[in-house]
């Protein structure tokens, strides 16, 4: 069903209805091989959308952000754990379907980009689905 890429959604629904330049924050994804990729995330979008828009590997996001598939699993860098917060009950339930879940595991479709997350560092697991 409506499993659109963020680009599609942005074009279709007009994700940025003006009102000044959106605030951007820096997010770094470190892949399972240790390679880091830093991208800009727009405040208000999700970290998963940011990853997809920037072709970050190892983020599958099969369900398109419905917290229904556990294929946007990330490990939050220790220093950031407090700012990103804890997984909700629904997200914890869904994490049961992810592999190698650790105390710092999150589904990044459930992390909204906020100004205080500027500099956020996440690691992606080798296998999502």
């Amino acid at each position: 069903m409506a499993k659109m890429s963020f680009e599609d959604a942005a074009t279709r629904y007009g994700a940025e209805p003006g009102g000044g330049a959106p605030t951007k924050v820096k997010i770094t994804f470190v892949d399972s091989q240790g390679q880091a990729r830093s991208v800009e995330g727009e405040v208000g979008s999700t970290v998963m959308e940011t990853a997809r828009r920037n072709d970050i590997p190892e983020i599958a996001a099969e369900c398109g952000g419905a917290c229904a598939c556990a294929t946007c699993h990330v490990y939050v860098d220790e220093k950031w754990a407090e700012k990103t917060g804890k997984a909700s009950q629904m997200e914890e339930d869904m994490l049961d379907f992810a592999f190698d879940v650790k105390p710092n595991s999150r589904l990044c479709c459930q992390i909204t980009v906020r100004p205080e997350l500027d500099g956020l560092v996440l690691t992606t697991p080798a296998q999502q689905g």
Partner: protein, 349 residues
Amino acid sequence: MNQLKEAAIETDVVIVGAGPAGLFSVFELGLLDIKAHVIDILPRAGGQCSELYPEKPIYDIPGLPVCTGQELTDNLLKQIEPFHPTFHFNEMVETLVSLGTAEKPEFRLSTDAGKIFHAKVVFIAAGGGSFQPKKPPIPKIESYEGTSVFYAVRRMEDFRDKNVVIVGGGDSALDWTLNLHPVAKSITLVHRRDQFRAAPHSVSAMQELVAAGKIDFKLGQITAVEGEDGELAGAILKGNDGVVEKLACERLMPFFGLTMKLGPVADWGLQLNENLIPVDTEKFETSHPGIFAVGDINSYPGKLKLILSGFHEVALAAQKAHRYVYPDKKLLFQYTTSSTNLQKKLGVS
């Protein structure tokens, strides 16, 4: 070949996939007197709508300001009732072979349950592919699959008097823990936390068995397997407390939900483009005459993976399908609002 032909189910169209596009295909084809058999790997209709979003609201179905995935599925099932489609659930189409010609197509399909179908046209409405069990990243696990490692129970006897390790905390993991307990020699349930996303009565039944010492429960995850020639001897458990231990077992059942894989569609000889099936935008027909692709699985310039696009596509594809199924009949365009002929088919006049 003759023998196979005898055993085959004869139908006008086989629809591969019972998601919204597949279900609405039944409707549009039904209006044109084209009888359908629908095959889906899942145990029920709805595809991603039922599997991924049963409770999530959908806001972009024309005329329905909001409905959940399950409501949409239920409504579609009601809408296609007059056409009496035959559903084949828990089955995956494995092979699709062309028997006919470009002018007079005919196809033979076979499923993993051994059913054979003969159809004049085929609608592939397979969405993101088939839902298949997620396989945990345990080294060499594939060499035990089907002999010692199972993602579903086909025969309970495979587990009789075996030491079974079940991994997961959802309904599948708990149901099989409870169902296999009387049959297996021992059951060890492994889960990453002590909370379970399963029916409360299953959870309490499981907890009672643990308390009575009849089954084992371990907090942690399986990181490796041991054995040889496909025969499992043990699974390595890394406990949440950091302790690593070997669980002696002959059977392992990991339950990590489902993921979408294109699956056998890739082997049907159709032109593919990044796991999607290119179609034209007049008939939504694939590179092979008589095989149509509708919904999320197709691709064409400007394609949007929206349910409403799938609905549009099946209406147009049905027109061309009619030409194959009834080559001598002229197709008259009619509206359900005014055509007594269509209303008769819908059972409302």
